[in-house]
Subunit: 340 residues, 2 copies
Amino acid sequence: MNNNPFTKNDIKVAVVGGGTGSFTMLSALKNHTKQLAAIVNMVDDGGSTGVLRDEFGTLPPGDVRQCLVALSDTPKIRDLFNYRFENGTFGGHSFGNILLTALEKVSGSFSGAVDTASEILRIKGKVIPATLDNVRLKMEWPEVSTILKGERVIDAYYFKHDPRRARLSLEPAAVANPMAIAAIEQADMIVIAPGDLYTSLGPLLVIGGVAEALKKTKAICVYVSNLVTKDGQTNNFTVNDHADEIERFVGFKFLDYVLYNQQEPAESIARKYKADDEYLVKIDKEALLKASYKAIPGDFLGESAIDNKSDKLFPVTRSLIRHNAEAVATALMSLYDSNS
Amino acid sequence: MNNNPFTKNDIKVAVVGGGTGSFTMLSALKNHTKQLAAIVNMVDDGGSTGVLRDEFGTLPPGDVRQCLVALSDTPKIRDLFNYRFENGTFGGHSFGNILLTALEKVSGSFSGAVDTASEILRIKGKVIPATLDNVRLKMEWPEVSTILKGERVIDAYYFKHDPRRARLSLEPAAVANPMAIAAIEQADMIVIAPGDLYTSLGPLLVIGGVAEALKKTKAICVYVSNLVTKDGQTNNFTVNDHADEIERFVGFKFLDYVLYNQQEPAESIARKYKADDEYLVKIDKEALLKASYKAIPGDFLGESAIDNKSDKLFPVTRSLIRHNAEAVATALMSLYDSNS
């Protein structure tokens, strides 16, 4: 096995995360470096992905598909991967998910499937499943003997207890994909993409081997802070609350920088997401000044034209408010330049 | 639209037909010429293809898929296209069919879908749907007022009347794909692949514009004779009976050559296909001597290891006995050499 995720002479960036957040970061970063590795969360078990996992016993294709599409420059094949059958036999399934499932069946391995899909999509960079183990997410509050099982269940849950006292783990215990470890160890910069703390970022960071690789790496580690809170899970969380949780998952302080948005959204947009009980992540400047990482503000709000909850068969809740990916990518690159 | 199916300086071959017969011819011919066009029958409405047509209102992907796979040299992606889901939501569907259906939905046209699939499979040559009209096959015996409708129905029918007195047509009347016309007119050699007379070759040859193109072309026209008869449809048909029907579909004599097999199969194989009421097409040497085309015998029997009727959900009857495609391709090429 070739454990070299980076091949060209360019800044080596590993983006850690899951669906939309990684998609956004990768879409912009691919224009800044040819050495891009997307390390992808593998606990999704809802929607089209969940049905495919249950039926075929395969690994979750959804987040991987989004990262592949982000790194592809062939519009027709991108559109094909994103195509979602509206009804009938394939109703609600995204074509890319079906393709990854079929490829896993044909090639006998999920990493083989990802490699062939990468060829088909002619992607820049590399998409790396964080683990190749077939696992489910578990979240438990030992003090109150509460256990939640399954990403879909946890994602939809309105927490009754403080999640900061909960323990995230995978069942069975997962080992990191060696290629993911190599990417973390060899990267010049590691970007923790914005994403759900308890169903996307956490489940990736707790995989066996990830913390050790983060300890070893010489990369600059940056968390691009979430823009909005998730109702029922991270209400009232500040930027540093998010960063603290990320470091708690890993077990030690590893973040060098946190990029956070300071821009106010338009009133019309603010109204829309308040209707979904989504609120901008608060900035506690004093806490950020005391933090072990350097907190860097920026104007990172993007256009918010994405239609929400439009999928009838497998509804997904996605935030209306998005990062201006190009502004974030530029900030990340200048961070790197100022360090080298 | 670029109506040039041939692009390189090599013998231009157009293969006319449908599924397995075209697959076999194309698989061998692609090693002899880079200028290969597969003109594909578009009336299939059975099995996975039929379900997809009914559900999505798209054109039939099955035969096109087989020709695409024949012309592809990327084994992993070929395997993906041929992968058939065994059970569950997608049970019985071949992945390539799903892909072509999704691509037609995404690109808005079947020819766009075929072009993108050709890119994905990196095929040699060009696959050309014979028509882009959404049609169904009709077979009628005017003298006895019998009408059969639909390829699947006709394919399964045990004819009560002589099919040579029947009229094949498409509903609604189809116009040939301009690219198919161009391929026929520009070809150096047209190969009518072995195939079912009434559900594969006939339905293609009766498309509006095909006869006119065959009249105009300067190509050598060769029919590679079927090896076995189809029970209930062509029992006792000889080689020249097959050739006569092909010319009847077109409306005039256009065949320059008929290649037929003279080799006897092994006893064990003969027994197997007799169990399915399939018999070797008989050779009437006197009739062949009197024919307007030149009949050329050869040892064309191939290995017959293909498993028959193995598909439980959408069973397909395929002959156990196959052409030695390489031997046929070599014979075709030497035919061309002796003419040029």
